[in-house]
């Protein structure tokens, strides 16, 4: 064993020290011959005879050297190097082919590696927390409904924390980020930040350690503790210039001096895990006693004890929650039926199907690339038929020829992989910066070690796939056949033609599957864009505003009215209003029922609540179906009023006119004064929930968004609006003007992301298929030049020749489309869950894809056909 190792090392040394060892051997052999000649001379031979006999006894010098090399070094590696050198030489001679092959491969591999990186980041890689596989997400109401449904009160959180036996630790954060808006003042322009309130053990449970300073102390998390805040690394770098002395300093948050106690590591991006598409950079302690009366306000997660499974924890909570509810009946709203899932599944589970579809799409691309390359190599190999025939005539074994061809494809694949990695790196770097795409963990996408491994795997697989078929084909050929086949002018090489036809057909079929999938997803996306949202995003924009009413509801009306009055006066503003939450942005629910009606248990008793000023409905473009909008005469002392949507009217007053009826919310009567058309409040793709709108003069809003409808593009008015707001309130933060369209876009961004990527891949597939068809037809035309010449000499018209070429193209394409359509039916069914308002067998999509593919095939066949029809019989016949 040790000897073998020693020998292996020595062989490796010898491999690299080839020249020196050869010199040494030469010297040794010449001294050997000198000894032999000397001895022969002593035996009385003539000098010539002495030399001759010495050489005879020595045997072949070249063979001895060869054996010496084989014995001392790594012959397989030698052969490989030889093949490599040969390959590089031939590829250099054929630069055009090499460039096209590498480019095609690079596109295929780039797409594959980029998508792998995304899949790896979102789906495969564990979450960036300590022991993430034991982290569990808890969703109340079995995860159904808006944020208020799936969250818990402080009381529930504390009771569960105390009584459960499945979890090592349970923690929580406050996901209604709007209720923790913090105005940072005293450092340049005032800025508004969305802070996340986290429980004391939030960071420790996830295993997050600060890079600077410390985590929150218990005192800071209790009522009356010193206000403290932690910064994300991003905020620290961009807002505080990465100044380490910031730790322990005080900043003004909502006019309260607050100590910055620590900076979180750059690897911790709260938004990318818990609120994809949002930046959340400021963290404050959730002081439980302060938020005890906020209703359902905490999102809960826990760390399982070692050995406890998710199912066991689920079984426990199913029993525990009703028990706790019985014990706390007076304080709890209901029994909090909880659905548990691994945190990882909560974060990325919904994307699994989309990602797998995306992965399959790039897999198809790679197959198409391989088929294309196979075709190219086959054409090249046919052209090199004589070379290979010569080599096997000279004694190269079949394995040796295949090895040579595989080396060639590996070199091409290697080149493609390198360029592809570059492409993938570009794509991932681009994606990582797309903060507005609501996909979890997207900001951490990068080409990492796993992606490199994947690249290697893909490259080798591809090389074998596209290199092996031509290799076997050629090396298996009968020498005579090859030499004959190499002749000119005949539509010979039927065997090759058949292989190539099969390759083209499969390429078209693969492209067809890809296009149908992309077509269905694109159609779904268009349907999503067409959804009537219940408001008009065009030419409307929102900006966060702050105002100081001292917490007194009776002062609020006058302040808001004056602010809106000034904004309204800006030229170009058509309508303005203020609301606390924008649709598709954030939501919360309050209890809401028709007065006097008896509800069965399990019936919905809550509604999404929006607190707005007069003018808001008009500004955002919601349509009042009946009744009236709020007015400034609806004050804290006048009758309490509410506007509901159609869904609320249908649910609570079925078949009746709700206007003028009395509802109950927060234990008080409230009169319905209007009904608006349904609004998609939480998702574009799911329907409308039950909504109620309350006047800001009668209920307490969570934050404030000024919504304006403009005659000009909203951006043109941004500075004028900002100027007006600043003049009115110097503390107005430097906030972004957000178009309402951007909020809608954000909500549809995951679908857009997937649809666009798949569409790009399908386009790539179509292009590759077209190239493949063109290559094959054009090749067969050039091989049949002489035959075409004969036909034309015998009287075939140019049109007839053209028709013949085009019809053979179409035959291939149609066969491919037919096969592809069959496969597509199955493939479409597997992505049915990803479609919106689109049938998997959508005839329009299928028909148009078939048409597009045929048209592209026609075009790809037309160019060679035209060339064929221009063949001059005289020239063609003279070619031999």
């Amino acid at each position: 064993m040790r000897d073998a190792l020693r020998q292996g090392l020595a062989r490796l040394r010898a491999f690299f020290g080839k020249a020196a060892m050869d010199r040494d051997l030469d010297a040794e052999m010449s001294s050997h011959l000198a000894f032999a000649i000397e001895e022969n001379l002593r035996r009385g031979l003539s000098p010539e005879e002495a030399a001759r006999q010495a050489l005879v006894r020595f045997g072949g010098v070249a063979q001895a050297k060869e054996r010496h090399r084989e014995a001392r070094s790594l012959p397989a590696l030698d052969t490989l190097l030889q093949d490599l050198r040969y390959t590089l030489r031939t590829l250099r001679r054929d630069r055009g082919f090499a460039a096209i092959a590498v480019l095609i491969l690079a596109l295929g591999m780039g797409a594959n590696v980029a998508v792998f990186s995304v899949v790896n980041t979102i789906l495969l890689r564990p979450l960036p927390f300590r022991d993430p596989q034991r982290l569990v997400w808890m969703a109340s109401n079995r995860g159904v409904g808006g944020l208020s449904y799936v969250t818990y009160t402080v009381g529930v959180y504390e009771a569960f924390q105390r009584h459960n036996r499945s979890f090592q630790e349970v923690t929580a954060y406050q996901p209604f980020f709007g209720s923790s808006e913090y105005l940072m003042t005293g450092r340049g322009e005032p800025r508004q930040y969305t802070a996340v309130m986290v429980a004391e053990n939030f960071f420790p449970m996830l295993g997050i350690k600060p890079v600077l300073g410390r985590l929150f102390t218990p005192e800071e998390c209790h009522k009356g503790g010193r206000p403290a805040a932690m910064l994300s690394e991003y905020l620290w770098r961009h807002q505080f210039g990465a100044d380490p002395s910031i730790i322990g300093r005080s900043i003004d948050l909502n006019l309260r001096p607050t100590t910055i106690v620590g900076v979180l590591p750059a690897s911790f991006d709260f938004g990318s895990v818990f609120s994809p598409g949002a930046r959340l950079d400021l963290f404050v302690p959730a002081v439980m006693d302060d938020i005890r009366n906020w209703g359902n306000t905490l999102a809960m997660l826990g760390r399982l004890k070692p050995g406890v499974t998710l199912a066991q924890a689920q079984a426990e909570v199913d029993v525990l929650m009703p028990q706790l509810y019985t014990a706390h009946k007076s304080e709890w709203f209901f029994d909090y039926p909880t659905a548990m899932s691994l945190l990882k599944d909560h974060v990325s589970g919904k994307l699994r199907r989309s990602l797998i579809a995306l992965w399959s799409a790039v897999g198809l691309i790679l197959l198409i690339v391989c088929v294309n390359l196979s075709n190219l190599l086959l054409a090249r190999a046919a052209a090199r038929g004589k070379e290979f025939a010569m080599r096997s005539a000279l004694g190269a074994g079949r394995a040796r020829v295949v090895q040579q061809l595989l080396t060639e494809s590996l070199v091409l694949a290697g080149g493609g992989a390198l360029l592809g990695l570059g492409i993938a790196w570009g794509i991932t770097a681009y994606l990582a910066r797309q903060g507005s795409i609501a996909l979890p963990l997207l900001s951490t996408v990068r080409v990492d070690g796993a992606a490199l491994g994947w690249t290697l795997l893909v490259a080798v697989t591809a090389a074998v796939l596209f290199g092996l078929a031509p290799g076997i084909k050629i090396s298996g050929g009968n020498l005579q056949d090859v030499l004959k086949d190499g002749g000119h002018g005949m539509s010979a090489g039927r065997r090759h033609d058949r292989t190539r036809a099969v390759l083209v057909i499969s390429e078209v079929a693969l492209a067809c599957v890809l296009l149908v999938g992309a077509g269905l997803l694109l159609r779904s996306f268009l349907h999503v864009l067409d959804v009537d949202l219940g408001f008009q995003p065009e030419r409307a924009a929102a900006i966060q505003v702050v105002y100081d009413d001292g917490g007194k509801i009776e002062r609020r009306g006058a302040i808001l009215q004056e602010m809106l009055h000034r904004v309204d006066a800006i030229p170009g503003i058509q309508a303005a209003g203020i609301v606390d939450m924008l649709p598709l942005d954030r939501n919360r629910s309050w209890d809401f029922q028709a007065k006097g009606r008896v509800y069965r248990p399990g019936e919905i008793g809550a509604a999404f609540v929006y607190i707005a000023t007069p003018g808001y409905l008009r500004a955002i473009g919601m349509q009042l179906l009946e009744g009236r909008d709020f007015t400034w005469q609806d004050t804290s002392t006048s009758e309490r009023v509410v506007i509901i949507n159609e869904a609320a009217a249908r649910y609570h007053w079925p078949g009746q006119d709700p206007v003028g009826r009395i509802a109950r919310t927060g234990g008080r009567d409230i009169k319905v004064i209007g009904v608006i058309r349904d609004v998609h409040e939480s998702s574009v793709e799911s329907g409308s929930g039950i909504e109620m709108y309350l006047p800001a003069t009668q209920a307490d809003p969570e934050g404030a968004e000024l919504v304006v409808r403009t005659a000009l593009p909203p951006d043109a008015l941004a500075s004028a609006v900002m100027h007006t707001l600043r003049k009115y309130n110097p503390l107005e933060p430097a906030a972004e003007f957000r178009t309402i369209q951007s909020i809608v876009d954000h909500a549809t961004s995951p679908r857009r992301f997937f649809a666009m990527l798949v569409a790009i891949f399908a386009g790539l597939g179509l292009l590759l298929a077209a190239l493949g068809i063109y290559g094959v037809i054009s090749y067969s035309v050039s091989r049949q030049t002489q035959e075409i010449g004969v036909r034309m000499a015998l009287g075939a018209s140019a049109g007839r020749v053209q028709l013949a070429v085009i019809s053979s193209t179409l035959r291939l394409a149609l066969a491919g489309v037919a096969a592809g359509t069959l496969v597509s039916f199955a493939a479409a069914r597997s992505i049915a869950a990803l479609l919106f308002d689109t049938q998997p067998g959508d005839p329009l999509t299928f028909a148009s894809i078939a048409l597009v593919l045929s048209a592209v095939a026609l075009l790809a066949g037309y160019l060679p056909a035209r060339r064929a029809s221009r063949v001059d019989p005289v020239v063609a016949l003279r070619q031999n």
Binding site: D3, A27, E28, S31, A36, V61, A71, R72
Partner: protein, 117 residues
């Protein structure tokens, strides 16, 4: 790849080289080749060049060592000597060959007995 017969031959030559070096001390390649030829009564007709593949292999395994030196008649030559580990290997090989030749001998004797049929 060399086939089976060649493998056996290589192995045989390796043992011959080791034995020659063990018996004769330091020798150069030509000397080893001649010794083997002489010892076999010129029954082994060696392509002398093949000995160098054997020598480099043995050297890489650490069973012999080599050094350039000067011969009696003042000619530069590479001299090989057997190492300690080479001697151990030779002892193993000797035992193997003796056992093998014993077995072969008995096998051939058996054939003789049956030869009367």
């Amino acid at each position: 790849m060399p086939d089976k017969k060649l493998d056996l031959l290589q192995g045989t030559l390796d043992v011959m080289v080791l034995q020659t070096l063990a018996a004769m001390g330091a020798l150069h390649g030509y000397g080893i080749a001649r010794r083997i030829e002489q010892a076999s009564g010129d029954a082994v007709l060696l392509n002398q060049g093949t000995i160098y593949a054997s020598l480099v292999r043995l050297q890489q395994r650490g069973w012999i060592s080599a050094e350039w030196g000067t011969s009696d008649n003042n000619r530069k030559a590479k001299f090989y000597t057997i190492t300690k580990r080479g001697r151990k290997q030779l002892a193993n090989d000797t035992a193997y060959w003796q056992r093998l030749s014993g077995v072969m001998g008995r096998l051939f004797a058996m054939q003789d007995e049956g030869g009367g049929q």
